[in-house]
């Protein structure tokens, strides 16, 4: 009698991971490691043993493709349903889409940039584990760029501001903020990238970017955005793991790595935090149905989780919380109000619209910011009186930009909303301006890199942006009438009233609001 051979036992997750990632790596025999991996030494980081890199997800290529396909299937079902049922009409208001315009212009192209650099890491990191994790993240980032563009393309059929995001990302002044942030990281070495994007952005700050956008979408009837956001965010938790693993790995490998990593952490916390000023104003001002203030989000996702959780963990390795984190905490009462006020005054040159918050919205802001909003409320009420007298204002001049974060210098001292913050440094006889101690600190460490920043205002003055007049520049930006300016009376607003049979539309029919027309000029 013969005994039938036992069916082969399924490998455990641990063994499968080992067989399908690390076992596919090999020792080179006829070229040196230095020749194969030329990029892992110039930053001064020392790695003794690449095999110590852990991937807690234990992800293998079969599991990766299976679950990513399932995520896409779920998303595309939602997109179809929303488009077929004219879902855009059930948004809270057309002005909600300003948040999404900012998203497709500022974030989607940087997902693509992230994919490029993770492809580079998937080639250049020396360990089989981190190379495979970088490959997965590279594919994720490409998926994010594609699903975001695909999701928001439905709104492009009906609303302004979506039609030319890629060109605008390369040219428009406020989009140089996210663009220069990512290009700073892209032009660094592989380890700085891992700390900049993998750790500081993905682990430390990404919750503040995605979760507010997506919960805001959920509260404002934007089911597709909520779904792509959560779909992308499910990959994000894997990216967070890679980032946390990266910092721990670098710190454990050699003590000499600690000060290098500390500087990158100081730098990229502040770079990321400044970038999030755009998210702060979105949360507090761009959502018609408010859900959470910037202050509350910052306390929840940064102060509680990171300051009280993560940094106590990293203290074990001799890492302290990032420099200037105290300024960020002080500013949480002010930053969104100041950022929106800047965008409000320059939205005639933007691919989104702005408006004075309604009285009801200001009441909500006052509940969220009882200490500080009364000051800003006076500003808005003054502006409302200007508008009532026919004078909605846009700034006609060009602002001084911060040399590092590239945001117009409209922020005040962290503890005094009446004193504008301005720092300056002289480097090789030239004067450079900064919005904050954090940005100045970065410049002083890397003046040769940041002196070459492509500052949109300087470029306009140098004649590199289509011509000397505002219409020349807006044309070069690829803006069309209705993309920017004041929301009330804009093309989007007019259409919204028409589609909803609002009597206000009939009244406005013969007298298009002056403020909207003003915006395109």
């Amino acid at each position: 009698m013969t005994i039938a051979p036992k069916a082969p036992r399924k490998l455990s997750m641990k063994d499968r991971y080992s067989a399908l990632t690390r076992d596919l790596d090999w020792e080179p025999s006829y070229v040196s490691k230095e020749q194969i991996y030329p990029l892992t030494t110039f930053e001064g980081i020392t790695i003794h043993d690449w095999s110590k890199w852990e991937d807690p997800f234990r992800l293998t290529v079969d599991a990766y493709t299976k679950y990513q396909a399932e995520k896409d299937k779920r998303l595309y079902a939602v997109l179809d349903g929303f488009a077929q049922s004219q879902g855009h009409l059930s948004l809270t208001d057309a002005s909600y889409l300003n948040a999404m315009k900012l998203f497709i212009q500022g974030i989607a192209p940087n997902e693509y940039n992230a994919h490029r650099n993770f492809a580079m890491l998937a080639r250049h990191l020396e360990g089989g584990g981190p190379r495979f994790a970088a490959l997965c993240q590279c594919l994720d980032e490409m998926r994010h760029a594609q699903t975001e563009i695909h999701t928001l393309s439905n709104y492009n059929k009906y609303y302004g501001g979506f039609h030319n995001f890629s060109q605008q990302h390369d040219r428009v002044w406020y989009l140089s903020v996210p663009k220069s942030f990512f290009e700073d990281a892209l032009s660094a070495g592989p380890f700085e990238w891992l700390i900049a994007i993998g750790f500081s952005f993905e682990y430390l700050l990404t919750n503040l970017l995605f979760v507010p956008f997506m919960s805001g979408a959920s509260f404002n009837g934007d089911l597709p955005t909520m779904t792509f956001g959560f779909s992308a965010q499910s990959d994000e938790s894997r990216h967070m793991t890679l980032g946390l693993e990266a910092i721990k790995f670098l710190l454990e490998q050699d003590e000499k790595n600690v000060p290098i990593v500390q500087y990158w952490l100081d730098k990229w916390f502040w770079r990321g935090y400044r970038l999030l000023a755009l998210v702060a104003q979105m949360l507090d001002y761009m959502l018609p149905r408010e859900f959470m203030s910037w202050k509350e989000a910052f306390e929840l996702y940064f102060e509680e989780q990171m300051m009280k959780g993560l940094f106590e963990d990293l203290a074990y390795y001799g890492i302290r919380p990032p420099l200037h984190v105290d300024k960020a905490i002080q500013e949480k009462e002010h930053v969104s109000h100041q950022a929106y006020w800047i965008l409000y005054q320059f939205s005639h040159a933007a691919a989104f619209t702005t408006s004075v918050p309604t009285a009801q919205h200001m009441d909500w802001l006052e509940e969220q910011y009882p200490e500080t909003f009364p000051t800003y409320r006076k500003l808005w009420e003054k502006e409302q009186r200007n508008i009532d007298n026919g004078g909605r204002h846009f700034i006609r001049g060009l602002p001084q930009l911060c040399q590092v974060c590239q945001i117009p210098m409209g922020f005040t001292e962290a503890d005094d909303p009446f004193v504008q913050a301005q720092r300056e440094s002289i480097f090789e006889g030239e004067r450079y301006n900064f919005c904050s101690d954090g940005c100045q600190y970065i410049f002083e460490h890397e003046p040769v890199k940041f002196r070459r920043a492509w500052l949109p205002v300087h470029q306009i003055y140098q004649g590199n942006c289509g011509g000397p007049t505002l219409p020349d520049v807006l044309n070069w930006y690829g803006l069309e009438p209705g993309d920017g300016g004041e929301y009330l009376g804009s093309i989007d607003h007019q259409n919204w009233l028409k589609w909803h049979g609002d009597p206000a539309h009939v009244e406005n029919d013969h007298a298009p609001a002056a403020a909207g027309a003003e915006g395109g000029q």
């Binding site: 997800f57 995605f210 509260f219 909520m226 509680e304 989780q305 009280k308």
Partner: protein, 95 residues
Amino acid sequence: MTATAERPVGVDIQENEQNRAVIEAIEADNEDATVRHMPGLVRVTSPGRLVINRTSVEERLGREWETHEFQLAIISYFGHIKEWDDDQILIAWDH
């Protein structure tokens, strides 16, 4: 400095029918867990550690569930993923 055993860790999970069993399993297996509902998501936090057991999820789901499936549910987390194997996912701080 707060002890590793007390500093909270947590996970954000998409709120939908499929994930209900996962959330219930986490609540059952982590007695100090706190659950907070936010638009579209559920946030579960727990002091020191948070564990997700395959068998607990399967009991509530009424079918086989592999821990990799948690990737479809998770939006974000804080803490460190200490263990992710066939039977269990464990989130805790290291130090």
